[in-house]
Symmetry: C2
Subunit: 246 residues, 2 copies
Amino acid sequence: MTRIARTDCKACPLRKLSVFRKFSSNEIEFVSTFKTGELSCDRGSTVLQEGAHSAHLYTVLKGWGFRHKLLEDGRRQILNYVLPGDLVGLQGSLTHEMHHSVEALTPMVFCVFERDRIDELFRNHPGLAYDLTWIAAREEGILDEHLLSVGRRSALERAAYLLAFLQIRARSVNAFNPSSDVIPVTQHHIADTLGLSTVHTNKTLRKLVKRGLILWRDRGCEVLDVEGLSAVAGWDVGHGGDRPFV
Amino acid sequence: MTRIARTDCKACPLRKLSVFRKFSSNEIEFVSTFKTGELSCDRGSTVLQEGAHSAHLYTVLKGWGFRHKLLEDGRRQILNYVLPGDLVGLQGSLTHEMHHSVEALTPMVFCVFERDRIDELFRNHPGLAYDLTWIAAREEGILDEHLLSVGRRSALERAAYLLAFLQIRARSVNAFNPSSDVIPVTQHHIADTLGLSTVHTNKTLRKLVKRGLILWRDRGCEVLDVEGLSAVAGWDVGHGGDRPFV
DNA sequence: CGCTTACTTGAGTCTGGTCAAACGGGGTGG
DNA sequence: CCACCCCGTTTGACCAGACTCAAGTAAGCG
């Protein structure tokens, strides 16, 4: 893992995306000083560890990753995926201990912020403080939907929901690399997200392929028909709307 | 549903509980004016509706309830339970639409706050703003754990985890009524929380009864052995720690 | 070339779902 | 007061979706 400050917040490529709200110059100024550096890591590396006491807060600048928890005997549950613009480590920053781990699915780059200055953010930048709360509430909404999915949808519905969800999210933040729109996960990751075994996940994905909704590529999934998937899942995609980010 | 302002924030019975952090007089002053009234409702009534555009934010003062989501065909997933001190409707306040419903398990009383004044809270009371974020992050952590449970634990483990979780939470906020420590849910609620059928839930609960970990009472569950339950679940209860509330 | 990782597929098993019936308590209308 | 009904719980029989085990293929890499 290397750490070199590079991208200037004022010229942050994410800020241009239509999904994110506009910042005041005052806010950009603060964020610039709040950011202490960048962190890069390879595919497969664990960025944050369950149980760790992290002194930092991160925003994803590039790449894909996922949050997960483990049971004693090794069973793993993937909780959500992290994409450019997502904040990670907020929980650790507030409660001083991480209750989940974060691992990279592709090479990633993060902006690093000092936890100590969060107080300052809350005191002097109510707009940004509001954003943090908004982000946490949004994550909660996503988890609600995942829980509904894992608890009450069938295997086929779950898989369809997850892939539609990831496709839409990735599209909105330009997370695909230019050559191909491939969601960079293994079937094992999907299984651990849906609460299924890898074998059954494979059989389920084959059905989606047969229906012409997706293609399975080398280490990843290409979505051919998002509406088809959300129809299978019985999922109402809902609203986009401006979102904040730090 | 009636609405009569009664309990004074300065004398709020919840504030005395050891789980909550101390407020400055300044903060209590603001909360007093932020609160516009109280809302009471009966068992079974829906307090907040998925899809609604609520103008309010609530804190639970008394009683038990739960948050849930529905699929088109009626399948229901209970997401979490709400107890005294919990904030409900934050999501709706930030995104202007609720993505889940809230229903009462017992008669409940809420403090009602005006959504419009949240901006003021963020501008003038960074401590409270911080608390809101903290609360949202905590809910996220709980949902993570539930997702792990539903996705990766067996029926018996799930049931044990849920009951241990509820027992501990209820204890910490004195949510039991003086005569009996009964968690006021039906087996149907438990089933919809765990992602199981009611029939299988019943068979699973009988096993916990046979092991002497719980008793099933008239419309509710009495926990006899929290440690036993968390052991069955393979759940590390973890830290309490001061928590804020509004 | 051999090793590893990821995917695929089939066979047999088991957890948990569905259907069905019955019980018991509390409330209600006759 | 009693009959009835409804709701929540309980249990049994049977079924199916998902799991485990196992073997085999294909691609990538040292």
